[in-house]
């Protein structure tokens, strides 16, 4: 499924549900009413978009820092010949939530999220040991805004 195959309802769902689902017993009914649709159709279309990968997930988004956990951004300079192997190493950790290939000398950038701050240190140490490459740890000192809204 590609973007040009999205129905008007699909687009309205993407726009509305990036902002959030109401917290109530029948949230999809509430959404359906707002979009002049039906609960069944709303659920069906969301499932189609999730199955096709247009939506990567649907549900609560947690901030580990708020329950004593921690997030950090880390970067590595990975030689191209080792890139695939190091990707496998980094992605193998459950604590690695996102990983991006970027066009910079530091070409691998990933987010580590953990329940205990110590886990972050441990994951970084393991990645360095398994890959033989230094990991630059760039924890946030201050957060000004987090919220990605991409209207379609």
């Amino acid at each position: 499924m590609e973007i040009d195959q999205l129905t008007l309802l699909d687009k309205a769902l993407i726009n509305l549900l990036q902002k959030g689902l109401p917290i109530c017993e029948n949230p999809f009914q509430a959404v359906a009413e707002q979009l002049a649709s039906t609960e069944q159709l709303v659920i069906e279309r969301l499932q189609v978009m999730l199955d096709s990968g247009l939506l990567t997930r649907f549900g609560p988004m947690f901030d580990a820092a708020c329950f004593g956990g921690a997030f950090t951004l880390a970067a590595m300079e990975v030689p191209e010949v080792q890139f695939e192997q190091v990707t496998q190493i980094v992605n193998s950790f459950d604590q690695v939530a996102h990983n991006y290939h970027r066009d910079h000398q530091l070409n691998m950038w990933f987010v580590i999220g953990a329940e205990q701050p110590q886990e972050i240190t441990d994951v970084i140490a393991s990645i360095e040991q398994q890959s033989g490459i230094t990991v630059l740890n760039m924890p946030k000192q201050e957060e000004f805004y987090v919220g990605l809204y991409l209207p379609v």
């Binding site: 017993e25 990567t56 649907f58 549900g59 580990a64 329950f67 990983n99 809204y149």
Partner: protein, 185 residues
């Protein structure tokens, strides 16, 4: 149909800093473990969750509201694959901003409507001199380069170099992983 959608292009998002950290009860932790992969797409997802948690539906909804008010849940939402939605261009703009004014200017950059994430982070001199990170997204290269110029204008008087460059923009070539937080079961 789109008339019913809020015109604001800023998400209602909780601003979180570590000093507000609170500990989780066993049930709250269970809540996170049960929902971190997503909520089931069924008519009454909180009934499903209530049954799993062995709580009443009312208590489950109250716990959800409470976790949200404490910032532990940022929001309950759909996360799109931005490439697939046509936002094929994103840039992680990075800036070397004078520490003395970094808070003030960081907030101003974070308030720009096209900035999705904005943080102050640790420098790694001499390899990495940038302390302010601002993610921007667009449908073409021109769009993101315009956004970058706007940020540069805002920061014009407070940029420094540490003998390197005052700013850069890293674009992503590929998503290698995108799963979100995972607590161990």
């Amino acid at each position: 149909m789109s008339d019913s959608i809020s015109p604001s292009n800023r998400l209602d998002t909780q601003k979180n800093n570590v000093d507000t950290a609170s500990t989780l009860t066993a049930k709250e932790r269970e809540y996170i473990v049960l929902t971190q992969h997503g909520l089931p797409l069924i008519a009454q997802p909180y009934h499903w969750l209530a049954e799993k948690l062995q709580l009443s539906v009312e208590a489950t909804l109250a716990m959800t509201e409470d976790l949200k008010s404490r910032g532990i849940i940022r929001r309950i939402a759909a996360v799109p694959n931005h490439y697939r939605l046509g936002y094929k261009f994103n840039g992680m703009t990075v800036w070397d901003v004078d520490d003395a004014v970094a808070q003030k200017f960081g907030q101003q950059v974070g308030d720009l409507p096209f900035v999705s994430h904005c943080y102050l982070r640790t420098r790694h001199l001499p390899y990495w001199n940038y302390n302010l990170f601002a993610m921007i997204h667009g449908k073409n290269e021109h769009e993101i380069s315009q956004y970058r110029i706007q940020i540069k204008q805002l920061l014009a008087d407070v940029l420094q170099t540490h003998g390197l460059k005052s700013n850069d923009m890293l674009t992503s070539k590929k998503i290698l992983k995108k799963t979100g937080l995972r607590l161990k079961k």
